[in-house]
Symmetry: C2
Subunit: 210 residues, 2 copies
């Protein structure tokens, strides 16, 4: 069997973490690299990934997350925050990175750069923010899949109040918005959910051939 | 090194596919299973995944995809289509599946079911459609990661005209909307992009610790 499929079957949205187990620095580095390598629209990675380590912040975020215990009990807490009002400056930064990484002159990609700028300039701000938010879902999925390979549990969460997160973490001032949350750690042996059968649509229900 | 990281470094958004190579039925089944196992909000999988095999449809879709050649040249074409106006009926279907899969009575999950229905009923239609669309990005990422393990190339695409896709594939009538496209196959040896260094934000640029 494919490792991917085996790992995907192993994972589940953990609700109760073992508070005595911490993800090692080495594994954390692998998870961050998995996030960093995520695909995104034009490769722009229009978001920041915030590791919340401060216990007081985590306690405040729990109140903004329907009180869910994993916010404070998991080994690590990650907030994927999309860039709001993604601008030409962000595109410039990407192309600076591209030309440096690939050791080419800007002239060689100027046409493409103009195309990308034109694309983002045609989007109204609210549409642009939805677009940047969507990209965080790809990064989240990379985290889920990479963690499962390491037998590390991750709970993806949309069940939180973004505006409160933005206030608590000072994201507005950074031009960011809390899009997704993930708690990372190790399942508690008492978390009964781990023993339940995974519920998924059948292949027949999910797929359509045209 | 983690296999995940190795595979993520191997993949890239392929522009030129080798038209002589087809993804086998066995590998396609693995990719479909990877998509099927994707995480989603409440586990609802609010989308369909469409395999477009009809060559005439693929030709029409190319015109609705900025003319990009991979739409017709790749071995397989997949359209992730989110459910529009996700309704209580969809929630009922999920819970029917859940109770059957886990062999439990509906009474045992009635409170949770009411909670999910209440959640979706509070969302305006446009917000609900954004929410279902976002879930397709997780499924896309599963496809990317599972394919990379099999050394199969996938090009994720937002560069297409959703309304034209909806018309060509008859998605409106099915209560669906084209959210994301992926072309699947094998990179052509002449695709120069495969030799370029991957461009990603540095760890310092992407991550923030609070």
């Amino acid at each position: 069997m494919s490792n991917f499929i085996e790992n995907a079957n192993w994972r589940y949205a953990t609700k109760k973490f073992d508070t005595t187990k911490k993800v090692s620095e080495k594994d954390l580095a692998t998870l961050k690299e998995a996030i960093r390598l995520s695909a995104s629209s034009f490769g722009l990675q229009p978001y920041k990934v915030i590791l919340v380590e401060n216990p007081e912040l985590r306690a405040k975020l729990q109140s903004a997350s329907w009180g869910q215990a994993q916010i404070v009990e998991a080994s690590h807490l990650v907030v994927f925050a999309n860039i709001t009002n993604f601008s030409e400056q962000h595109v410039d930064e990407y192309f600076d990175n591209l030309t440096t990484t690939r050791e080419i002159q800007m002239e060689a990609v100027q046409g493409y750069k103009d195309f990308v700028k034109n694309f983002i300039n045609t989007l109204p701000v609210d549409v642009k923010n939805i677009w940047t938010s969507k990209q965080t879902y790809i990064a989240l999925s990379n985290l889920l899949n990479a963690a499962a390979e390491l037998k590390i549990d991750v709970t993806p969460m949309e069940g939180f109040e973004p505006q409160k997160y933005n206030e608590i973490l000072g994201l507005n001032e950074l031009g960011l918005n809390a899009s997704l949350v993930a708690t990372i750690g190790y399942r508690h042996e008492e978390d009964g959910l781990q023993h339940l059968k995974k519920v998924r649509k059948s292949e027949k229900e999910l797929f359509l051939t045209l």
